[in-house]
Subunit: 266 residues, 2 copies
Amino acid sequence: MKISIIKIGGNVIDFPEKLDEFLFLFSRFPGKKILIHGGGVLASKFGESMGVMPEMVDGRRITDKDTLDIVTMVYAGLINKQIVAKLQKLKQNALGMTGADGNLIQSKKRPVKKIDYGFVGDIKSVNTDLLESLLEKDIVPVICAITHDKKGQLLNTNADSISSEIAVAMSSKHTVNLYYCFNKAGVLIDEKNDESIIPLINEEIYRELKNEQVIHSGMIPKLDNAFAALHKGVNHVWIGKAENLLLAVKGKVSGTNIENHKYDLY
Amino acid sequence: MKISIIKIGGNVIDFPEKLDEFLFLFSRFPGKKILIHGGGVLASKFGESMGVMPEMVDGRRITDKDTLDIVTMVYAGLINKQIVAKLQKLKQNALGMTGADGNLIQSKKRPVKKIDYGFVGDIKSVNTDLLESLLEKDIVPVICAITHDKKGQLLNTNADSISSEIAVAMSSKHTVNLYYCFNKAGVLIDEKNDESIIPLINEEIYRELKNEQVIHSGMIPKLDNAFAALHKGVNHVWIGKAENLLLAVKGKVSGTNIENHKYDLY
């Protein structure tokens, strides 16, 4: 089957009106689909109100025991269930999950090297059978950024990684398109100008743009991740604003399409 | 199929060691099973640490907007996912859900009469198809005390009611046994003596025990609920301590068995 995997982050989740608008668009999104979400600033906000301060290293949250409890509450509880209830209203048969539910995503606690990330999990395997059986029943999986190690421990896992790992795993039998909703309109030539979208990036263009330092810092792991997914069988990756998601499906230029032209050479 | 529905409350959930012990017993419990849980004192504790004080009327929590957010976080997030992760370790393919997930339990916000209970839902319908398809795949549904109105609103719903409504709904096609894990060893002749268990209660005995005021106050709605479930097709109801659950399955006297002898008269 053809499956769309759509990832949203804080720039959608943190704003109730934006979230509602996105969920409406998502409900109109055709075909089999999976929604993946992170947590945004809510986890930090709740943590602070309970006296647990967020600790970040290189833009990544350090997940101690209290922080894990809070992200579990906020991601898997509040945000996930509010999204599910709203999608149910929009006649989408949403079912919210963490990676522990139905053993959907098994991960491994990240080994301590220079930094001890705490209860952070790197993905080992995805239960594609479960996702297939849900999609076949027209259920819409809504997956949050929590996984488990199958030894009883929940783990915090990056939502971008969950999206690409699920996309890759489902690609072995299905045609999978991956949509990253982002705080910018796509990959931009001029960061400050949302009109300067680069509509298509293949590996050649990517190399050039990196050389010219048009693409730098935070965009590099995002694009590396996208190309890695394409190399492992994902059909198509899109990066753009949540509100332009439906335009993307209709084939209109509305963000950056990432394609792996290597395959065209053979 | 034969289905066991097991309900636990605060007296198990609030104590990590008791919860672990219970989950081990639950993992040894034979056949198809569903676990239903409330929230215990954790929701009040987290609420207080965030400045939201629990308001109770007649032993029922008044659920304002902040309280609903907290119970959603604690029940559907923290407790549900910790239970699921622990059951996964015990080789039980647990999948945690609220009533919103897969439209499992649709409820209606309780109308305001003398008391405004706030965001509390009374159950309207149970999606038995979804439960059947999960049980057929040997998935163990772990359901928390949150439902939805299918209009986008999550609602707080009593876990005893969720247990009996699911039991009744599943009884139309299946043999359903309902186990209420309780803070006492069963229905007792002397409340202070855990040895004074009444092993069997039918409606005649129930009437007598009520007349003699052996059964009073909080036990009455519990038993009314049990008999109502039996009248609507549930096969068997058991009330007892979580640690005696496996004895109950083996047919040993370990709690109170509630039976509907009316059916024997025909």
